[in-house]
């Protein structure tokens, strides 16, 4: 039985994996298909997307028409279980001095973690992104380059299924021919934006998202992913065949019971479980990595959330993929070896250099989009197009007052009406009755939301340590976050809002508010974009990094990091695809080292 209760773990596993999201899911997939016996610990409850996903539930069936609440910040039908910026009984603290620098930590306590609800935007980091310091003198270079990750990006795209196009734009890598699934057609609002953006020099292209716009090629892909391993190919073939193509309805954030998009629970865990090599313990709140006297990791100590009991499980290697900051929390709390600064921390850098993605937004109302005849714009459940960062050369020439770029995500409003008044007061101007209903029909679909997602440069003032006083309900010291934006992030979001206003005005629309002059006014709080990475960064010097180029802890050679914690930079590209690619790469290395007897 692969789902086992705490206390029923085998005596020892090849690998103990903490976390079941993107990084943990990929690790379990890669390792079990290579024949390694793995135990996965998930802090939240088990979750079955096939039977639990509210795909076609109507808003009228939910409390308050499914409106957002603090308990369900993304609306009632969002897939997230026991999650949000607040998890009951598991606080965190912030040592911020200004409100715009108060870090907000989003967590999900469920099998599959955040992958059940995420945006599915799957962008490759480009060559510049891994060598930022070389390019502009700021931040930290990774020890690896794009060429090291490229084969894994391709494998991940083939496994999870990513739609999109190859445009050959600067630092926006193409995928090899035939890897991407067909892009979905542009929506009216997207085509309109594309047309007007062109005149402003902003390229609007098909986005890459992990949604199956057609059935995966389950006949041919498994052999490409697992050459020479017919047993793995057979398992992956069956898992791929079981996933359906998108049927062009419902929001991806609800999760997908037919497996038409990527979530760990529909893509990674089914084949991993089918190998017979994976046990999963849910409600297992990891507290620390256990270190033997020889300095090697021996396993993980966790608390069974249902009983409060302490459990120890053994593994020949340990992978932390708990969700970047959770991984830091575990490292800093791992003091059984007698090291008061935690495990893998001889550099003193565990917790340092945390980055989120920058975010700012603006809404426009576009008269040209008013009173259109009804048509279905549901599409693939989220955006079909976006603007990659396009001003690399201007930046290089010193024409901008910030060093790193952002991409633009945007979307219209011809989607399923939720618990939302369709007529803003300033447009309705007091209308009620049939006149109000005419307004509702007139303005429906005429709004457009723009948001930037930008790169933050790691800095000395953005980090986490253990709060000296506050503990969670299990008595475990919690993280305390420290944060400072630099002028690069603040100037970047100001630039983005000006571009949004230009775009909206070019379309003949009006903006909801003037672009901010002060970056603090525009920028979302840290943690709000939910792309926090770093804190156990990769590097080539053990004194200046926590892990090596394989995301293997310098201090503990059988301890690996498979979430975002090793990121030494956080490009504007959403981190999940890179987490998946690096997790696969790390696990290939782990397998190789294990075969050589080096662990």
């Amino acid at each position: 039985m692969p789902f086992i209760p705490a206390g029923k773990a085998k005596d020892e596993y090849d690998v103990v994996i903490v976390g079941s999201g993107a990084g943990g899911g990929q690790a379990a997939y890669t390792l079990t298909l290579a024949g390694l016996k793995c135990l996965m610990l998930e802090a939240g409850r088990s979750y079955d997307p096939v039977t639990e996903t509210a795909m076609f539930q109507g808003h009228w069936q939910a409390p308050m028409r499914a409106a957002s609440t603090p308990e369900k910040p993304f609306g009632f039908y969002d897939a997230t279980v026991d999650g949000g910026w607040k998890v009951p009984g598991e606080p965190y603290t912030s040592a911020h001095t200004r409100p715009e620098e108060e870090f907000k930590w989003w967590r999900a306590r469920m099998l599959g973690g955040r992958t059940n609800h995420w945006g599915r935007i799957s962008l490759r980091d480009g060559p510049y992104d891994l060598k930022p310091k070389t390019r502009d003198g700021l931040g930290i270079d990774w020890p690896i380059s794009y060429e090291d990750v490229e084969p894994y990006y391709t494998k991940v795209e083939q496994l999870i299924g990513v739609h999109g196009t190859n445009e050959g734009l600067e630092n926006t890598p193409n995928s090899p021919e035939g890897v991407l699934l067909p892009p979905p057609k542009g929506r009216a609002v997207e085509l309109l934006t594309q047309k007007h953006a062109k005149a402003l020099g902003v390229p609007i292209i098909s986005v890459h998202r992990a949604v199956l716009t057609r059935h995966l090629d389950f006949k041919n892909l498994p052999a490409k992913l697992h050459p020479g391993n017919p047993w793995a190919q057979k398992i992956v073939r069956e898992a791929m065949a079981a996933r359906s193509a998108c049927f062009w309805a419902t929001e991806c954030g609800r999760g997908c019971s037919v497996g038409a998009n990527y979530q760990s629970t529909t893509v990674h865990l089914p084949p991993a479980l089918a190998t017979g090599n994976l046990d999963i313990i849910s409600n297992a709140h990891a507290r620390e990595v256990l270190i033997w006297k020889n300095g090697k990791a021996g396993g993980v100590l966790f608390i069974d959330r249902l009983t409060g009991r302490v459990n120890r499980v053994k593994g020949k290697a340990v992978i932390l993929a708990a969700g970047s900051c959770e991984t830091l929390r575990i490292l800093l709390n791992s003091k059984s070896s007698g090291n008061s600064s935690g495990v893998a921390n001889s550099s003193g850098l565990v917790g340092k250099y945390i980055m989120d993605t920058t975010g700012a937004s603006m809404t426009g109302q576009i008269p040209a989009l008013e009173n259109l005849p009804p048509f279905n714009e549901d599409g693939a459940g989220s955006l079909h197009m976006y603007a990659p960062w396009w001003l690399y050369q201007e930046q290089k020439a010193g024409k901008l007052n910030f060093a790193r770029g952002y991409h633009i995500e945007f979307g219209g409003s011809r989607d399923m009406p939720g618990a939302e008044n369709p007529v803003p007061d300033e447009l309705g101007r007091g209308s009620y009755g049939t006149r109000f209903k005419e307004d509702a029909r007139r303005y429906y679909g005429s709004f457009i939301d723009f948001a930037c997602r930008g790169e933050m440069i790691p800095n000395e003032n953005s980090y986490a340590d253990l709060d000296p006083a506050v503990k969670d309900r299990f008595g475990i010291p919690v993280l305390r976050f420290h944060w400072k934006w630099s002028s690069h992030e603040l100037n970047q979001v100001v630039h983005a809002q000006k571009i949004f206003a230009n775009l909206i005005e070019a379309m003949g629309g009006r903006v909801d508010e003037k672009p901010a002059e002060d970056g603090y006014q525009a920028i979302k709080k840290p943690g709000f974009i939910i792309h926090e990475v770093g804190g156990a960064i990769t590097g080539s010097d053990p004194a200046k990094s926590v892990c090596n180029s394989w995301n293997q802890a310098w201090d503990v050679k059988n301890l690996f990091f498979c979430d975002g914690a090793p990121f030494a930079s956080n490009a504007d590209k959403n981190p999940t695809l890179t987490i998946l690619a690096l997790s696969w790469r790390t696990c290939d290395h782990l397998i190789e080292e294990a075969r050589k007897g080096n662990l």
Binding site: S68, F74, E420, G433, T434
Partner: protein, 232 residues
């Protein structure tokens, strides 16, 4: 609701509309995150250690999603019978039966309004007092002007009252408070109305149907907007 990654759809003080509320919405969610009480996930009371717990209030962080909920199932509704009568009459003035669809009362709009203002969440609770006062004000005003309850008034009489309070920005000082409540009632009622199959029809939403393929906008729409499909 945005199609963008991670944008939060939020409702603020009954003004659930787009536009100027987004920044306020973000401010609210942050305030609410900070303010909401710590309480145990279900079945875990046994291991709760020293944390002081607030009583169970909302639906929790792991509600059953596949169940159909009715207003009143999760927390008690609080409008009095007279307030409710006025609210139903008002909602039907706001969203009448017409060529676009049924009247608000046929879609349970006031049940949702009652559920909303009775909810144990800060943002919804902030609507309670203005909504209730306005319903009471309408009763008093109806009696004062026409010697009848609001629901018994002729449509023209109902409009006469509504016209004084329908637009906060233009309302006379003596009507500002009622206009604020009216704005909230209209906003919550519209949110309730359009989040129904009949509301979808009324607004022109034709999605949420499984399709073999997605063809993008129809030719008629592209033509009207002067666009061509660029994704082949």
């Amino acid at each position: 609701m945005s199609k963008s990654d991670n944008l939060v759809q939020l409702t603020v003080n009954g003004n659930t509309s787009r536009g100027i509320t987004r920044r306020r919405a973000m401010q609210w969610v942050l305030a609410a995150v900070a303010a909401s009480a710590v309480r145990p996930a279900r079945g875990e009371d046994a291991v709760v250690a020293s944390t002081q717990l607030a009583p169970q209030e909302g639906y929790g962080s792991d509600p059953l999603l596949l169940k159909t909920y009715k207003p009143g199932d999760l927390w008690p509704l609080t409008l009095t019978a007279p307030q409710r009568t006025t609210a139903i009459a008002l909602a039907d003035v706001l969203l009448p039966k017409d060529e676009y669809g049924p009247a608000a009362s046929e879609l349970g709009v006031v049940d949702m309004l009652d559920e909303w203002i009775s909810a144990p969440y800060e943002v919804q609770a902030a609507d309670r007092q203005p909504v209730v006062s306005t319903l009471e004000w309408m009763e008093t005003e109806s009696t004062k002007r026409f010697a009848k309850a609001f629901d018994k008034l002729a449509p023209e009489q109902q409009y006469a009252i509504c016209d004084d309070i329908c637009f906060l920005e233009a309302a006379k000082p003596e009507f500002r408070s009622a206009a604020d409540g009216f704005r909230r009632i209209r906003s919550i009622s519209a949110a309730a109305y359009y989040a129904t199959p009949q509301g979808w029809k009324a607004i022109g939403y034709v999605g949420n149907v499984a399709l073999e393929k997605f063809d993008g906008p129809p030719e008629e729409v592209l033509k009207k907007l002067g666009l061509t499909q660029t994704v082949i």
